[in-house]
């Protein structure tokens, strides 16, 4: 679980959101500490965007509660949106405006300094100011949306697939800027499919699957506790006993004579036990990558469940 000692900018408790024929969020709990980059991972349809929409007040939950910067989104959504920088996965921009124009227009809703910071961001991203938005590429539109979202220096930045469409250089630059923001005490909630990027910048991750969190943990702790275990077998039919508690199998895949498992809480004693079993040629243990953890949470085939 996240570090409960740090003040939480986002607190979610038993949040449930249901649509006809589908439970998008099923009683989820979450705390996002201040001054961190918190990554929200999940496959398509897991409920990430639904959670973000509930946090920003675009959706009212069926039950449960959430607070963003100490405010209730069902009651004070406007205030939240004024203090938060939000970039949706398909940002809506006035395509008839020019790049500079939209910054000038938006600056009227924020404090002084917005326009300068926006121009700085646009310049850094290399987007021409006098071009119409409808003539921008998808990546350029994303840059404009990002620049608009950070220009008012929000306490909390909520980004839904922010780097989608960005070239690798800009992506790296953007991620570095996220770290800079966090260093000054700001918080970033990042929803992304780019696991490699998340690994580079995130302090904590939460993996959402079928409306429930499978994992909410700091990245460091996750690296320490989740391992990828590869067992080489003499015979594919060799049975392996389940490891003793507290080890949990998150995923288990057999490929010929090899069984690859992602396990939580797997220790060296358990590995030795397996090595000693007849039919086991070898056991390799290494830290699981976030990619593997994500796949294990989503695909399952184990008894992985941890919040």
């Amino acid at each position: 679980m996240s570090n409960a000692n740090q003040e939480a900018v986002i607190e979610v408790s038993q949040l449930t959101v249901s649509f006809p024929g589908c439970d998008a969020l099923r009683g989820v709990d979450l705390q996002v500490p201040r001054g961190t980059v918190f990554a929200l991972l999940g496959e398509n349809g897991a409920g990430k965007t639904t959670l973000i929409r509930a946090l920003t007040g675009f959706l009212h939950p069926n039950s449960g509660s959430c607070r963003v910067l100490g405010l209730d989104p069902t009651v004070e959504a406007l205030e939240i949106r004024r203090r938060v920088g939000y970039v949706a996965d398909a940002p809506a921009l006035y395509d008839w405006m020019r790049v500079g124009e939209i910054g000038w227009f938006t600056s009227s809703f924020y404090e002084a300094g917005f326009l300068d910071r926006y121009r700085e961001g646009i310049s850094r991203y290399g987007v021409p100011e006098d071009r119409k938005i409808r003539h921008l590429s998808k990546g350029q539109r994303a840059k404009v949306a990002l620049a608009l979202a950070v220009a008012h220096d929000p306490e909390l930045l909520i980004l839904d697939e922010p780097t989608s469409g960005l070239d690798p250089l800009v992506r790296r630059e953007f991620l570095e800027s996220m770290l800079d923001r966090v260093a000054t005490g700001r918080t970033v909630l990042l929803s992304s499919h780019q696991i490699a990027e998340v690994e580079r910048v995130a302090d904590s991750v939460a993996i959402l699957h079928a409306g429930k969190f499978q994992i909410i943990e700091s990245l460091a702790s996750l690296r320490d506790s989740v391992t990828e275990v590869t067992v080489s077998l003499d015979d594919p039919l060799v049975q392996l006993p389940l490891p003793d508690s507290p080890a949990i199998v998150m995923s288990d895949r057999a490929e010929g004579r090899q069984r690859q498992m992602v396990m939580r809480g797997f220790n060296s004693e358990a590995a030795d036990q397996w090595r000693g079993r007849p039919g086991v040629a070898g056991v390799t243990v290494r830290s699981a990558t976030l990619d593997e953890v994500f796949a294990a949470c989503v695909r399952g085939n184990g008894n992985a469940s941890d919040e």
Binding site: T56, G57, F58, L59, H60, A77, L78, E79, I80, R81, R82, Y86, A88, P91, A92, L93, Y94, D95, W96, M97, R98, G100, E101, W104, F105, T106, S107, S108, F109, A112, L115, R119, G126, P128, E129, D130, R131
Partner: protein, 791 residues
């Protein structure tokens, strides 16, 4: 690839896209017609209005189909995706066009069925010719709209351009007709045949353009190389050496949002402003020249432009979900609502007020001098804002931009039909109507937040439905409140009345009018005058013998003239000339007898108005009978007979009771079988009254209020005490909207309610508008004293 399946699927997709319009337009048209039919359906105006709706419905579809099928798809880029599929471009173009034709044909079939159902469509050849231009014009508009939609990038601009292009065939027909009829002295409209011919040619041209523009739009895009100096500018941009653009001082939110709306909607604002200005110019010219137009195109243009401006209030930001940009930044919904409304309202108000000022200050003489220009002008402006009010509501509720632009004009007619029903039929106060008509502004104001957040769940739709119900039903509240809480006739009184009506002696037989001989108009010298009036009395007496029906007072002439003769004859009794006196004496006697007999017959009338007039005559007779010379003039026997009749309070009472009962029975019977409540009770007009309801329609409430009036009259008629309570008199006065002075109340009352025949100035008058005001007044006591001096 199954070609047939592909074409089937394409058809399905196109018709599915048209479905919202195909459902909404007829639904609203039928709703409007139902509202029209709530009014008296024999009214020719209501029938014409229904025709207009069902002619206009396919027309609106024709205007919007191109924008919906082509323009909207181009904006959403789904047309690109469609073009990326292995389908020939001409197949896409043809199926879209064919689907639009099918949609239009369906709507014309619905309209045709409506006309057949109404069965009042009189079809002389000229009318058929006039109406036949509508279908052909609608097909021309359809093809032209599709062609424009393929050509023009913006769906909204394409929609705007359809309106002026729709007039092209008619204008060409006008030009052709003008060329051919150049020698004719009188201007005539082009014949329907000419117009239709131009429309058919227009259809063929438009179809050719549809094919051409459609294929061009679906072909690969050609890259255009810019001019050298522009290319340099582009290179500078690319190299990051372009100077940063300057947009001026940073605005505060309000002007920034107004700027954003105006810039975003400038095509629509310019287009609709042009429409309004053209309409204003045409209106000014038409009214100045007093010309009548079969098709009031200027009013239609004005109404369409206003409706589109209204729909654009919210649709401008709904397109491409643009409003989310502002929603994401937590902008105040109130501010958003205000800044969306300001610009369109300003455009309408400015042009309308300028037109009115122009007409009144510098307009053509005929127009400046028009009576009621100011009032009509203000009404017209108010109507425009009602259209705007409902259109902006439709623009928020209907999520598709093109569908809302097409449907909004039809939606904005609903308040006019609903409220005219409320005013005319239910007597709703105009103040309440005014509030209801502008409630849509409140509805959109309260719903802006959900609209911005795109939260269109059940709660949103229920809320909008609730607003709609309030807006339409609010003007009816006073009517239904009155119906629920106002007392009618009590059961006890109803039974009493039924008992009287059931009496076989109380027959509902309408009174007969007496007539005078024409010779009465030629007044000859004094002696012949007496003979003439004696002959007249004989004539009236023979009319009496000819019928046993009651006598009524539908005309002032005969009875008043006989009364006047009686009064004159009475005055001449004082003359000293004995020869003249004998003739006058005879005339006096005969006229007194006749009047007495007439009163007896009038008392059998089932109408209350005849009882009141009989009272007036008896008051005059009592005044005569109290004069000292009258007894001698009449002779003892005749005097006692007349006095006995005058003193018979019971007979008067019975007659009044019977008249109230039969008057109510008559009203109640007529009310059951008539769609419109009767306009009279007991011979008295039911217009006006203290309760402020229009008596022309509104059967339910009118019936209840008349019942209450009848009960109050019954109570008075059945009175048997010494003095009628003042509260009863006040109630009757209030019921009928009559000044209480006529009932002897207040200063000067003694001159109108005859408590003493020596004081009053009450004059027998036809249809005296003070119903029952002489009932049981003091004159009846004086009448009794003629026979029983001690009473």
């Amino acid at each position: 690839m199954n070609n047939r399946l592909m074409i089937q699927r394409l058809w399905w997709k196109e018709l599915r896209q048209l479905l919202p319009m195909l459902i909404l337009l007829p639904t609203i048209a039928f709703l409007l017609t139902a509202l029209y039919l709530l009014n008296d359906n024999s009214n020719q105006f209501n029938w014409s209005a229904g025709v207009a709706v069902f002619l206009g419905m396919p027309g609106l579809f024709a205007v919007g189909a191109g924008a919906l099928l082509v323009g909207q798809e181009k904006e959403m880029r789904t047309i690109q995706w469609l073009a990326s599929l292995p389908i020939r471009p001409q197949t896409i173009v043809r199926i879209k066009t064919a689907a639009a034709v099918v949609g239009l044909a369906i709507l014309w079939v619905i309209s045709g069925l409506y006309f057949l159902w109404r069965d009042r469509y009189d079809t002389p050849m000229t009318d058929i010719g006039q109406f036949s231009v509508w279908p052909t014009n609608s097909f021309f508009v359809l093809f032209a709209g599709i062609a424009i939609a393929w050509r023009i990038k913006s769906a909204l601009v394409a929609l705007l351009l359809v309106v002026p292009i729709a007039m092209v065939p008619y204008v060409l027909a006008l030009v052709l007709h003008a060329m051919m009829a150049a020698d004719e002295y009188y201007y005539t409209d082009p014949s329907p045949g000419t117009v239709i011919a131009m429309q058919v040619i227009g259809c063929l041209v438009a179809l050719f353009l549809v094919d051409r523009f459609g294929r061009a739009a679906l072909s690969p895009e050609r890259v255009r190389l810019g001019l050298p100096f522009l290319a340099n500018a582009t290179n500078r941009e690319r190299n990051g050496r372009a100077a940063p653009a300057s947009y001026g001082v940073i605005q505060s939110p309000l002007p920034a949002l107004i700027w954003q709306f105006a810039m975003q909607s400038r095509a629509l604002l310019i287009g609709t402003s042009i429409m309004l200005l053209v309409a204003a110019a045409m209106l000014l010219m038409r009214y100045a020249s007093r010309a009548n137009s079969v098709i009031p195109f200027d009013i239609f243009l004005c109404y369409l432009a206003t409706s589109w401006l209204g729909a654009s209030v919210f649709q401008s930001d709904s397109a491409h979900q643009r409003i989310r940009f502002l929603a994401d930044r937590g902008l105040s919904p109130r501010l958003i609502w205000l800044t969306r409304q300001i610009v369109p309202i300003t455009v309408i108000a400015a042009i309308a007020i300028a037109t009115l000022l122009l007409a009144s200050l510098v307009g053509p003489a005929g127009l400046k001098a028009s009576p009621g220009l100011g009032t009509m002008g203000m009404l017209a402006i108010a109507s425009l804002f009602v259209v705007f009010s409902f259109s902006q509501w439709a623009g928020q509720v209907i999520t598709s931009p093109i569908v809302s632009m097409v449907v909004a004009p039809l939606v904005s007619i609903i308040p006019f039909t609903a409220y005219s029903f409320s005013v005319v039929t239910l007597g709703s106060p105009l103040g309440l109507i005014s509030i209801a008509a502008f409630l849509p502004f409140l509805a959109t104001f309260l719903s802006t937040r959900r609209w911005m957040d795109r939260r269109f769940g059940k709660r949103y739709w229920f809320t909008q439905g609730g607003y709609a119900a309030i807006v339409i039903l609010m003007p009816t509240f006073p009517h239904f409140m009155a119906l629920a809480f106002e007392p009618g006739m009590s059961r006890q009184v109803r039974k009493q009345i039924e008992t009287v009506v059931a009496n076989p002696n109380n027959v509902l037989r309408m009174p007969v009018e007496l007539v005078l001989d024409k010779d009465v108009e030629n007044e000859r010298p004094f002696v012949s005058f007496v003979r003439t009036w004696n002959n007249q009395i004989d004539s009236v007496r023979s009319q009496f013998r000819a019928t046993s029906a009651p006598i009524g007072i539908s005309s002032q002439g005969p009875i008043l003239k006989i009364l006047a003769i009686n009064l004159m004859a009475g005055m001449s009794l004082q003359q000293s000339d004995s020869a003249v006196s004998d003739e006058h004496l005879d005339l006096f006697r005969r006229s007194m007898e006749l009047l007495s007999d007439m009163v007896v017959r009038m008392r059998t009338s089932p109408q209350v108005v005849d009882q009141d007039f009989a009272d007036s005559i008896e008051i005059a007779m009592v005044r005569q009978m109290r004069r000292t010379e009258t007894r001698a003039a009449l002779g003892e026997e005749r005097y006692k007979l007349v006095a006995a009749r005058l003193a018979d309070t019971q007979a008067r009472r019975d007659a009044r009771v019977r008249s109230v009962a039969l008057s109510w029975y008559n009203y109640d019977s007529q009310s059951k079988f008539s769609r419109v409540p009767p306009s009279q009770f007991g011979g008295y007009d039911l217009q006006g009254g203290g309760d402020g309801l229009s008596w022309k329609n509104g059967k339910g409430l009118a019936h209840r209020r008349v019942a209450r009036r009848a009960e109050n009259l019954w109570r008075m008629a059945d009175f048997s005490g010494d003095e009628v309570p003042k509260e009863w008199l006040l109630e009757v006065a209030s019921d009928w909207g009559i000044v209480s002075t006529y009932y002897g109340l207040g200063s000067g009352g003694i001159y109108y309610r005859v408590d003493s025949v020596d004081d009053s100035i009450a004059v027998a008058k036809k249809g005296s508008n003070a119903i029952a005001n002489q009932w049981y007044a003091g004159w009846e006591k004086q009448a009794r004293e003629l026979l029983y001096p001690s009473n």
